[in-house]
Amino acid sequence: MNSELNYMIGIMGLSWIVVILAVAFTPYFIRKNISFGVSVPETEYANPRFKVLRRTYSVDCIVVGLILGVASSVCYIWITVETAVWIQLVSIFLYLAFSFLFYFSMRKKVRSIKQESDWPIDSKAVAELSGEKTSGKTIHTAWYLFYLVVIAVAVIAVVLKYPSLPDQIPMHYNIAGEVDRYAQKSIGIFAVMPIIQLLIGLMFAGINVAIRTSKRQRDFNRSNAFRGVLSVTLFAIGCMVMILLTCVQLAMVSFINEKLMMVLPIAFLIATTAICVYLAIKVGQGGSRLKGTYGKPAEAVDDDSHWIGGFLYFNKKDPSVFVEKRFGIGYTLNFGNPVSMLVGAALLVLIAALLILPLIIK
């Protein structure tokens, strides 16, 4: 039992480090012409007053994160694992709430600086007028058919092995690789995984379409390049998820060693983290950190009036559904567009389905 404890603390510690890094360093990954959700001239990024704000935010987030992270991870020693997992979840939410508070206090300062400076306000709308580059080399939806192949491998393995399987199927392993939970053999318990895989695959293919149809910023070359990089990365991460889940299924019918199943999730976590760190440092939000033949970054269009709190986009006149996030990497929805509500609802249903399905087999 002691090694399972260490394993859990290890996983949780790793997750905390990832969360803290992502939250604390956000001001450095985003576009330089947006500071805490307020659009500012690109040159102001180097302004010492903004430097201090960014540093203060990062330090505050790291300190609070470390306190919460260590406190909630150490409590495994005294309480049951199940209670501790809940404490972890609550602590992470608490941490995000704290980071929000820090964000808003910094945002207030940036806004007052903006008010007292007379920066030129550019509210012109811009677009690129050449058609061949407009989709920005995102990968074609047909590539996602590969996921079906990965799913099929698991399905075929189950079909082949099913008759020879024992009545009790191992469902859960402890750290030593020993089975600690069994389930009655049935087609149902093997059908859940392919359904989950299909739903996840569908979600990834949907996000790829979202990337392709997203609104581009004035920095068109970078916006296009960003789309391409993100699209390929998404496909790669999706592949890893699919292969991981297929391996879980293969382990259930003992096609692969259960010891391998202890290593694979950690390898997956590390690989995904590495990819995200690469994206944040080398690519940056909207491709703002890309070096090379992209020219100097273009000034942003000042559309602050459409951003509630600097992070929620609400513009009824804008037909865009997916727009670049202002505080973080990736895309957010235009909540002024009714289509976004449908997309948001679909996403919620999907997440609910993914959470409920595994409970059914229990």
Partner: protein, 130 residues
């Protein structure tokens, strides 16, 4: 090439967009057979109504600047020649402006000078939008 639309201008958005596209064709930044962005993409980038962009594409298609394929989208045509009936349309567009300028006591020389300036400006603007 990048185009800009001034959202706070008194000139309607569709007119600005139409002029920007014609100007890009005129200056050679969009040449024959070049494809234009999809209606959805252009409207999304600009943050303007889909119908506005569709209307502009249809107008440009009617006037012979672009052609609209069902599969390939909009493509640039060779610039249309000025037909006699077109000239009549432009005359009727210009006449009210001439009348309004005269009503404000502009001299004929001043008017011709203004026209010359605008002519030069249209050449320069096409070249500066890269």
């Amino acid at each position: 090439m990048i185009i800009e639309i001034d959202m706070h201008s008194s000139i309607p958005i569709y007119k600005q967009l139409k002029t920007a596209i014609i100007s890009a064709i005129l200056s050679g930044q969009l040449s024959e057979d070049d494809s234009l962005p999809s209606v959805r993409q252009l409207a999304s980038d600009l943050g303007i109504n889909l119908h506005t962009v569709r209307k502009v594409y249809e107008m440009l298609c009617d006037e012979g600047y672009i052609r609209i394929h069902r599969s390939k989208g909009a493509e640039v045509c060779s610039p249309p020649k000025l037909a006699k009936e077109d000239l009549a349309v432009f005359e009727s567009l210009l006449l009210p402006i001439v009348i309004e300028l005269r009503a404000r006591d502009i001299s004929k020389e001043k008017y011709i000078e203004l026209m010359n300036q605008l002519w030069e400006k249209s050449i320069k603007e096409g070249a500066s939008n890269e």
